[in-house]
C-alpha cells in the first residue's frame, strides 16, 4: 500500500504544479497573450467549482443513502444554465455594465448602493459558507486518513485535524498570492481561474476513471452494472416528489446565490457569448460528474464491509482492489474539488468583507474622508488578505468544533438554504422596479433569522446550540416556534421545512414592504438601470460637474487602483477629450467612468461614497433622465389629473357661489316683490275702507252716495284685476297651466285682440298690415291675443299724440309682429325695465293697472316659445314693440323620404 508520506509528497507536488499553472497564466495575461485564457471553455471549466468535495465524495455517499436524490443537486443548476436566456444573460450584462464585484455588491448596488444591504448579504454569506469551507477541509483530512490506514470514524480523536490545518494554510497562501495580486476585479484572477480550470479537468477525469473502472473493470459492463443496481440495497424508486422538486429548485437558486458561483459566473466573465457555450457545456459537465455515482455507490455497498463510510467510496473501492494509482488519482480529484472551491469561495467572501465591512468602517474612522485617507490601495489589499485568513480561519474553527460528525451532504444543504435567502431580492431586483431597499432588507433579515433558527443552529449538533428541550417543545413552551416544526408544520422534511418557511417569509416581507415603502432617488435610478439593462446601455447614476478638480481625483484614484493604472485612465480620457497633457476635464461622463473603475476595486457603494466626497453632490445625466422619464410622465399625468380635479372643484364652487348669490338676489327680489304687492293691495283697500266709512256714517246726498259707491266699485275691480294678474303671472312663472295649441291665422288673432281692446275702434287709429292674414301659427290663440290686447291697450293709454295712431306690421324676415305708435316713445333708461313687475311709466294711477301687464306678456311669449322686446328707436319716433313668434316646425316627413 502506498505510504502516507508518499501521498503527502504527491499532494505537495500537485500543489506546486497548480502554482506553476497559475503563475504561467498570470504571466501570459500580463504579457497580453491571454487570448485562450478568455475562451468559453475556460469559463465553463471554471464554473465546475460548483462541484466541490461534496460532489466528489459526498454524492456517492448521498446515493448510497438516498438513491437517485443526489441528482437534484445537479439538475437544478443544469436547468438554470439551459434557461440562461431568462436570467443569467441579464445578470452577466448587469454585472459587466455596473462593474459588480460580488453578490453583496449586486444587491447593494441595485438598491441604491446601500451599505446596509451589502453588510447583510455579506454576513449571510459568511455564516452560510463557513461550514461549507469546513466541509472541504474535512474532506481533505478524511481522505488523507483513509490512506493513512486509520479508521475513518476516530480520526479526529487522534489529531488527524493537523492535515486540515496545513491544507488551510496552504490554500490561504495560494489564494492570497493569486487572489490579491491586483485590485481591479475587472482584470480578473487569471491565475486562480486557470488553476480552477485545470482542477476541473482533474476531478472530472478522476471520477470518470473510477467510474469506468467500476463499470467495466469490476461490474462487467453496463448491462451487468444495471442488473447489479437493481439487485442492490438502493434499488427501489421510492423518491419523494416534494424533496425531488424542492431540492432541484433549491440547487438552482444556490447556483445563482452562492458567492463563489457568482464570482465565476458574473465577476470573472470576460464575454457574454461564453454563456451560450456554457449553457450546454456545463450541464454536460454536471451530467458526466454524476454519471458514475450510482455504480460507484452500489459497488461500494457490495464490496466493502458494513459500516464503511459511503462518503469515501470513491477512494476506498479502488484501494480495496489494490488499485493504488487509481486511488491516488481519485485523491487528487477530491483534493482539486476541495481546493478550487475554497480558493474561489474565500476570494468572493474576502471581496465582500473588505468592500462592505472593513473599508467602509476604515473610511468612516478617518474623518478626513477619501482625500486624506492615505494609501487606500494598500488598505484594501490588506483588508482582503486579512479577510481571506479570517474566512479560512473561521472554516477551520467550525471544522474543529463540529468534529466532522455530520454527513457531508447535510452541511451542503444547510449552506444552500442559507445563501438562497438572497434569491428573492436578487430576482425581484432584476425584474421588478417596485422592489425597494427596505423590502430587500426586511426580507433578507427575516429569511436569515428563520434559517438560523430552523436549520443552521440545529445543524451544529444535537443539543449543542439549541437545547434538546427547546427542539422538542419550542422556546418558552411556544410550540409553534419549534425549530423544525414552525407554525405546527412538523410533518415536513427538516430541510424542506426550513427552506419553505425561510423563503416564504423572506419573499412575503420583501414584496409587502416594497409595496408599502417608497424608494429614494438613487434607488429608483439604479432600479431602472438594472431592470431595463437591455434597453439602457448607458451607466448608472452619474455625477454633475462638481467642485472636484482632476488633480485630487487622480491622487485618490492612484491610491485605489495604483499609480500607473490611474494615470493611464486619466491620460486616455484626456486624449479622448482632445486635450494635451495627462489631466482630462472633469465631466460627468469622466466621473462615471472613474467611479466604475473604482467600483471594480472597492465595490459600488464605497466608490460612490468616495467620489461623492470629492464632487459634493449627486446629479443625474440625460440618460438617467430618460431612464426615469416614463415614471416622470406617470407622475405628471397624475398631477394633471389632480389639477383637472381641482379645477373642476373650483368650477363647482364658483357655480355654487353664483347659485347662492342668485338665491340671495331672488330672496331680496322676493322681499321687494312682497312689499310692492302689499303696497299695491293697500292703496285700493285704503280708499275702499275710507269711502265705506263715509257711506256708513250716512248724511250724504244720493249723488254723493252714488259717486262714492262707484269709487268703491272701481277700486274693488282694480283689486280684482290685480289679483287676477298676480295669479296669472305666478301660474306662468311656475310654468304651470296648460297651453291650448291650435293652428290659427295670425290676422284672426290680431282682429280678436282689436275687438277686445278697442270694441268701438275709437280713440286710436289702427293701421293693420294685410300680410298678417297670410301667416298661420300653431299656438295658443287666447294667450297670444292676451299679449296683443295688452300692447294695443297700452298704446291707447299712453300714446300722447294729438291723433294717436297704431301700426301693426308683419316682419317676415324676423317672423315677428311690430306694434308701432306715433307717441313720444319711452326714454331709453326706462326701456330696459318696462318688462319688470310693477314697473310703470309716469303716474301710477293713470294706467289703472299694477304694472304687471308687460311682465305677463313676457312670460306668455316665453311659454309660447317666442319673445317680446321693446325696439329702442329713440324718443320722438314713437314706441315700438316687437313680438317674435315661434317658427312653426316643418310638418313631419316633408323633405324626407318616408320609411317603409
Amino acid at each position: 500500500m502506498l505510504g502516507f508520506n508518499a501521498l503527502v509528497s504527491i499532494a505537495l507536488l500537485y500543489g506546486a504544479f497548480l502554482f506553476g499553472v497559475a503563475f504561467a497564466a498570470e504571466r501570459r495575461a500580463a504579457g497580453g497573450r491571454d487570448g485562450w485564457l478568455r475562451s468559453p471553455w475556460i469559463y465553463t471549466l471554471s464554473l465546475s467549482i460548483y462541484c466541490t468535495a461534496w460532489t466528489f465524495y459526498g454524492a456517492v455517499g448521498y446515493a448510497a443513502r438516498s438513491g437517485l436524490e443526489y441528482l437534484t443537486i445537479y439538475l437544478g443548476p443544469s436547468l438554470v444554465m439551459i434557461g440562461w436566456w431568462w436570467l443569467l444573460r441579464k445578470l452577466v450584462r448587469i454585472g459587466r455594465a455596473q462593474r459588480i464585484t460580488s453578490i453583496a455588491d449586486l444587491v447593494s448596488s441595485r438598491f441604491g448602493k446601500s451599505d446596509l444591504l451589502g453588510v447583510i448579504v455579506t454576513l449571510l454569506a459568511v455564516v452560510g459558507v463557513t461550514p461549507y469551507i469546513a466541509l472541504q477541509l474535512q474532506s481533505i483530512a478524511q481522505s488523507l486518513d483513509v490512506f493513512a490506514g486509520r479508521a475513518a470514524a476516530d480520526w479526529a480523536a487522534r489529531g488527524g485535524g493537523s492535515a486540515a490545518l496545513w491544507s488551510a494554510v496552504g490554500l490561504a497562501l495560494f489564494t492570497i498570492l493569486f487572489g490579491t495580486r491586483n485590485l481591479d476585479s475587472n482584470e480578473r484572477h487569471h491565475g486562480i481561474v486557470m488553476a480552477v480550470a485545470v482542477e476541473a479537468v482533474v476531478k472530472l477525469g478522476a471520477l470518470l476513471a473510477v467510474g469506468v473502472y467500476v463499470v467495466w473493470g469490476l461490474g462487467g459492463g453496463p448491462a451487468e452494472m444495471l442488473a447489479r443496481i437493481d439487485a442492490s440495497a438502493i434499488s427501489g424508486w421510492e423518491q419523494s416528489g416534494g424533496r425531488w422538486i424542492g431540492f432541484t429548485l433549491l440547487s438552482a437558486g444556490a447556483l445563482l446565490c452562492l458567492p463563489r458561483m457568482f464570482q465565476v459566473l458574473v465577476v470573472e466573465n470576460a464575454d457574454e457569448d461564453h454563456l451560450a457555450t456554457a449553457s450546454w457545456a456545463f450541464p454536460l459537465y454536471l451530467g458526466l460528474m454524476s454519471l458514475f455515482v450510482v455504480p460507484i455507490a452500489v459497488t461500494g455497498l457490495e464490496l466493502l464491509p458494513e459500516g464503511a463510510n459511503p462518503d469515501m467510496f470513491v477512494l476506498t473501492v479502488p484501494l480495496s482492489q489494490g488499485r493504488d494509482g487509481l486511488a491516488v488519482l481519485a485523491f487528487l480529484g477530491g483534493f482539486s474539488s476541495a481546493a478550487s472551491m475554497v480558493m474561489v469561495a474565500t476570494i468572493a467572501l474576502a471581496t465582500m468583507m473588505s468592500n462592505h465591512i472593513i473599508v467602509p468602517l476604515w473610511l468612516r474612522a478617518r474623518s478626513g474622508g477619501a482625500m486624506m485617507a492615505g494609501d487606500v490601495r494598500a488598505v484594501v489589499l490588506a483588508a482582503r488578505r486579512l479577510s481571506i485568513l479570517g474566512v479560512l480561519g473561521l472554516g477551520y474553527v467550525y471544522f474543529r468544533l463540529s468534529g466532522g460528525g455530520a454527513a457531508l451532504a447535510s452541511i451542503g444543504l444547510v449552506a444552500f438554504v442559507g445563501v438562497v435567502q438572497v434569491l428573492p431580492a436578487l430576482i425581484g431586483g432584476l425584474f421588478w422596479r417596485g422592489a425597494t431597499r427596505s423590502g430587500a432588507a426586511a426580507g433578507l433579515l427575516a429569511g436569515f433569522a428563520v434559517w438560523l433558527w430552523a436549520m443552521f443552529l440545529p445543524s451544529v449538533g444535537d443539543g449543542t446550540a439549541i437545547p434538546a428541550g427547546v427542539m422538542a417543545a419550542g422556546p418558552f413552551g411556544l410550540e409553534w416556534l419549534r425549530p423544525q416544526a414552525l407554525f405546527w408544520t412538523g410533518g415536513l422534511d427538516p430541510v424542506l421545512h426550513a427552506a419553505l418557511w425561510s423563503l416564504a417569509l423572506n419573499a412575503a416581507l420583501f414584496v409587502l414592504v416594497s409595496l408599502a415603502s417608497f424608494p429614494g432617488p438613487v434607488e429608483r435610478l439604479q432600479g431602472a438601470q438594472f431592470v431595463g439593462v437591455f434597453e439602457l446601455s448607458e451607466g448608472p447614476g452619474s455625477w454633475a460637474r462638481g467642485a472636484a478638480d482632476a488633480e485630487p481625483l487622480l491622487v485618490m484614484a492612484q491610491r485605489i487602483i495604483g499609480a500607473a493604472e490611474a494615470q493611464a485612465i486619466f491620460a486616455r480620457h484626456a486624449a479622448r477629450q482632445g486635450k494635451q497633457g495627462r489631466l482630462p476635464d472633469v465631466t460627468p461622463d469622466f466621473i462615471r467612468v472613474l467611479e466604475r473603475e473604482l467600483a471594480g476595486s472597492v465595490g459600488a457603494a464605497t466608490a460612490h461614497a468616495m467620489i461623492g466626497q470629492m464632487t459634493e453632490g449627486v446629479s443625474v445625466s440625460v440618460e438617467d433622465l430618460i431612464a426615469v422619464a416614463d415614471e416622470t410622465a406617470q407622475i405628471m399625468e397624475y398631477s394633471n389629473r389632480l389639477e383637472q380635479k381641482s379645477a373642476e372643484l373650483e368650477r363647482t364652487a364658483s357655480a355654487l357661489r353664483e347659485a347662492n348669490a342668485q338665491l340671495t338676489a331672488l330672496s331680496v327680489q322676493k322681499d321687494g316683490f312682497l312689499s310692492q304687492i302689499s303696497h299695491e293691495l293697500r292703496t285700493p283697500m285704503t280708499s275702499i275702507r275710507a269711502f265705506a266709512e263715509i257711506l256708513r256714517e250716512g248724511g250724504l246726498d244720493p249723488a254723493e252716495q252714488d259717486r262714492f259707491a262707484a269709487i268703491i266699485g272701481d277700486e274693488a275691480s282694480r283689486l280684482t284685476r290685480l289679483l287676477d294678474d298676480l295669479l296669472d303671472l305666478s301660474v306662468l312663472e311656475a310654468g304651470q297651466g296648460l297651453l291650448d295649441l291650435r293652428e290659427i291665422g295670425l290676422g284672426e288673432v290680431v282682429d280678436r285682440a282689436l275687438d277686445a281692446a278697442l270694441p268701438l275702434r275709437e280713440g286710436l287709429r289702427v293701421e293693420r298690415d294685410p300680410a298678417l292674414d297670410q301667416v298661420t301659427l300653431d299656438t295658443d290663440p287666447d294667450r297670444l291675443a292676451q299679449v296683443f290686447i295688452n300692447l294695443i291697450a297700452n298704446a291707447r293709454k299712453y300714446c300722447e299724440a294729438p291723433q294717436p295712431e297704431l301700426r301693426i306690421l308683419w316682419r317676415p324676415d324676423c317672423h315677428a309682429v311690430d306694434f308701432i305708435d306715433n307717441g313720444a316713445g319711452i326714454p331709453p333708461e326706462q326701456g330696459r325695465v318696462i318688462f319688470e313687475k310693477f314697473s310703470r311709466l309716469g303716474e301710477a294711477g293713470k294706467a289703472g293697472g299694477a304694472g304687471l301687464g308687460l311682465a305677463i306678456c313676457r312670460e306668455i311669449m316665453a311659454r309660447l316659445g317666442g319673445a317680446i322686446r321693446y325696439l329702442p328707436g329713440g324718443q320722438g319716433s314713437g314706441s315700438a314693440f316687437r313680438v317674435e313668434l315661434p317658427v312653426k316646425a316643418a310638418p313631419l316627413g316633408v323633405g324626407q323620404p318616408l320609411a317603409g
Partner: protein, 88 residues
C-alpha cells in the same frame, strides 16, 4: 405573403430574419421548462415497482437530450446574432 418584387425582397428578408430570431429566443426561454418537465416525469411512475436502473437510464437520456437541444439552440442563437450584426 408580400410581393416578391426586386424592391420588396430585402425588407421581407430582414423581417423574416428578425422574426426567426424572436422565435429562437422564445425557444430558448421554453427550453428549461421542457427540461424540467422531462426530469420531473419519473415522479409519476409507480413507486416501488419501477426498477432504479430504468429511472437512471431515463434521466441520463433526458440529460443528454437537454444538452443536445441546448447546444443546437446556442449555436442557432449565436449564428442569428452574427447575421443580425452583419446586416446592421
Amino acid at each position: 405573403m408580400a410581393e416578391r418584387g426586386p424592391g420588396a425582397r430585402r425588407p421581407v428578408f430582414l423581417a423574416r430574419a428578425s422574426y426567426r430570431r424572436r422565435r429562437l429566443e422564445d425557444t430558448a426561454r421554453l427550453a428549461p421548462l421542457a427540461a424540467a418537465f422531462l426530469w420531473a416525469l419519473p415522479l409519476l411512475w409507480p413507486r416501488g415497482e419501477t426498477p432504479l436502473s430504468t429511472v437512471l437510464v431515463y434521466l441520463f437520456a433526458a440529460w443528454g437530450l437537454s444538452v443536445l437541444a441546448s447546444w443546437a439552440l446556442a449555436r442557432a442563437l449565436r449564428r442569428s446574432a452574427r447575421d443580425a450584426d452583419g446586416d446592421a
